[in-house]
């Protein structure tokens, strides 16, 4: 088991968007019954067969580090959270589709995580302002997930989807929109989502 390569993925987002439920779903293949507020960081592990069925098949452990808290926390909380951001292979940014602020806060979340991870190439950050070029050169792959899609009324859905498409372009990230209904989410994870994940984590494999 120790011979399996280690892949560390951060799951970031505002409180209440559904990170813990998402992580639980991905790792335990069941829906989280009673989600509660995450204190600190909760980790879960998923065993993933990379390129299953091909001769290059390799089994990975994907560690999903679900960091709790909000983007406006005190600086003492932020500096403590920073210990979790070391040597990260990928970041999943989660936002709530019914709450615009959570999408806007994703910029600050990604800056917080990436600043910790600042490579020696000297990416300059100006006062924490959002700079698109940072993400273009970013070696860490990003995945953007929007939750609670089914809670948006029918007529507003296309508008929301356009907005999130722009968002994911900004981040140069892959985008997935999820629902919160029990069986639908489960299905998505079993079929489409698993495929997507494989695609995304292709770039995580370091040679």
């Amino acid at each position: 088991m120790a011979s399996l390569d280690r892949v560390k993925v951060l799951v970031l987002g505002d409180s209440g968007v559904g990170k813990s439920s998402l992580v639980h779903l991905l790792c335990q293949n069941q829906v989280l019954g009673n989600p509660s507020w995450t204190v600190g960081c909760s980790v879960d592990v998923r065993v993933q067969d990379y390129k299953e069925g091909t001769p290059e098949e390799k089994t990975f452990y994907i560690e999903l580090w679900d960091v709790g808290g909000s983007v406006g926390s005190a600086s003492s909380v932020k500096s403590t959270r920073a210990v979790f951001y070391n040597s990260v292979n990928g970041i999943i940014l989660v936002h709530d589709l019914t709450n615009k602020k959570s999408s806007q806060n994703l910029y600050r979340w990604s800056l917080e995580a990436l600043n910790k991870d600042s490579s020696p190439t000297g990416v300059i950050v100006s006062n924490g302002d959002y700079d698109r070029e940072q993400f273009a050169e970013n070696p860490v792959p990003l995945l953007l997930i929007g939750t609670k899609f089914d809670q948006i009324p029918e007529n507003k859905r296309s508008e929301v989807l356009t907005r999130t498409a722009f968002l994911s372009e900004d981040f140069n990230a892959e985008e997935i929109n999820l629902v919160s209904r029990l069986f639908l989410l489960y299905e998505l994870s079993m079929t489409g989502f698993t495929d997507r994940k494989r695609f995304n984590f292709k770039s995580l494999h370091y040679d």
């Binding site: 088991m1 204190v39 600190g40 592990v45 560690e63 005190a74 600086s75 500096s79 403590t80 210990v83």
Partner: protein, 465 residues
């Protein structure tokens, strides 16, 4: 003639009210709700309205001291303002609190309005019952109509006053003790960088242990699942025995490891919180070395003396059943005139000094309250409950301001007290001061005890590291 004078006073007063409303609105947007999305604008409107009318009350007191506007128009505006504030605090805000609480609960969502009304009626019942054990009103002599008596302003204000004074005293007691504790660096525990690094290392080690155990669980589960598939192929007596034993030991092991994981997760949460605590202390130590920090440290010593004096005075007031007869301004002026022999125009100076004093009290209490509310809001709110919490804060703010008007009466010279006494009628003001002293004493003493225990416990935790 009355109409024209009233209309001439409406404009300046209401323009200022719009100003206060705008300030409350901005405060709400920029400070309180800066991380959330405002979906129900009614919350924001209610908050700003409460803030605006509370500020107008203070403004009217200032007008009273300065002698601005005519006495009759002041009286009219007072009554109007009080009625509006009472309407908001007793009818509007509690109803909306009930409505938003009920909306959050899934089961009751269909009949939201009905349940919100039920909650409101329960609130009114307890609100009314609140008046019974307290001797707030002097015996009613001429009751003309039942309806008139119930809705009279004294009944409502008396109860709002009790709640507000309790809140004020609790906050003052805690604030009086907490303020020197926070400002003075004497109480700061010594935290070094190596302490923090050691704790962070422990945290990461714990996380790694959790990860490795979870990997083991995931792999075992996967193997069990795969073996389960193979099991279907194995038939016969021997195959059945094998399947039973292997899965049983497998699942037993799993539950043991799961228990270890749960314990480790609890440990990781504790370590996280401790690290946050240490980081916060380190930042405070750094801050105390700056010029601002040193200034606040000095203030801290000053405030601690003030706090001790206030506790002492509260005790004396209760023990000796004493109620101050004169306000500090007049007493101060008397002292200077009698003992220091300085002669000056008492009336002129008392007006200006009481204006400044009352102004300072108003501004600091508003500012202090808003800061405390903001801190409180950040600490406990989440995206689901933010609406409810803001409304609760609006309620607290309104009641706080109403009762500070009641208590402020004591700080003003006799001639300016008249309007407050006139409007609020038959309230037993002395009761409120006594009640304030009692709750203040209880709150301050329990805060001292609480802070002492918390302070003692912290270094012991770090000794165990």
């Amino acid at each position: 003639m009355v109409c024209t004078s009233l209309s001439s006073t409406y404009l300046p007063l209401y323009s200022k009210q719009v100003l206060f409303f705008g300030f409350g609105w901005l405060f709400f947007m920029r400070q309180l709700f800066k991380d959330y999305e405002v979906r129900h604008y009614v919350v924001q409107v209610v908050f700003s309205v409460t803030f605006a009318f509370s500020c107008t009350m203070f403004e009217l007191i200032i007008f009273e001291i300065l002698g601005a506007l005519s006495s009759s128009s002041r009286y009219f505006h007072w009554k109007l303002n009080l009625y509006v504030i009472l309407l908001v605090l007793i009818f509007v805000v509690p109803f909306y609190i009930g409505y938003f609480v009920v909306s959050n609960i899934r089961l009751l969502q269909r009949q939201r309005l009905l349940f919100a009304c039920m909650v409101w009626f329960t609130f009114m019942y307890f609100f009314w019952k609140l008046g019974d054990p307290f001797p707030i009103l002097s015996p009613i002599s001429n009751i003309v109509l039942w309806k008139e008596w119930i809705l009279s302003i004294e009944q409502l204000i008396s109860r709002v006053g009790v709640i507000g004074v309790t809140l004020m005293a609790l906050l003052s007691g805690f604030g009086a003790v907490n303020c020197p504790y926070t400002y003075m660096s004497y109480f700061l525990r010594n935290v070094t960088d190596s302490d923090i690094l050691a704790l962070e290392r422990r945290l990461l080690q714990t996380m790694d242990m959790i990860v490795s155990k979870k990997k083991r669980i995931a792999m075992t589960r996967r193997q069990m699942y795969q073996r389960g598939e193979d099991q279907n192929k194995q038939t016969g007596f021997w195959g059945m025995i094998k399947s039973v034993t292997s899965t049983q030991t497998g699942s037993e092991n799993l539950s043991l490891v799961q228990q270890e994981v749960d314990a480790l997760e609890e440990l990781s949460r504790q370590l996280f919180l401790e690290t946050v605590d240490l980081q916060a202390t380190k930042e405070r130590i750094e801050y105390s070395k700056t010029f601002q920090g040193k200034y606040f440290n000095f203030l801290g010593y000053f405030f601690s003396i003030y706090c001790v004096w206030k506790i002492f005075m509260a005790t004396i007031n209760i023990v000796f059943d004493r109620v101050g007869k004169t306000d500090p301004v007049t007493r101060g002026i008397e002292i200077t005139v009698n003992y220091l022999g300085i002669q000056f125009d008492v009336k002129f100076w008392s007006q200006h000094i009481s204006f400044i004093l009352v102004g300072i009290i108003i501004v600091t209490s508003i500012r202090g309250l808003l800061i405390t509310l903001t801190k409180f809001f950040y600490a406990i709110s989440s995206s689901k409950s933010s609406n409810v919490i803001v409304l609760v804060l609006a309620q607290i703010m309104g009641m706080y301001f109403v009762s500070s008007v009641l208590l402020m009466r004591m700080s003003m010279p006799l001639e300016y007290r008249s309007i407050v006494t006139e409007v609020l009628g038959e309230l037993q003001f002395n009761f409120y001061h006594r009640w304030f002293d009692v709750i203040f004493l209880v709150s301050a003493l329990s805060s001292i005890l609480f802070l002492y225990l918390a302070h003692k416990q912290a270094p012991e935790k770090h000794m165990a590291l």
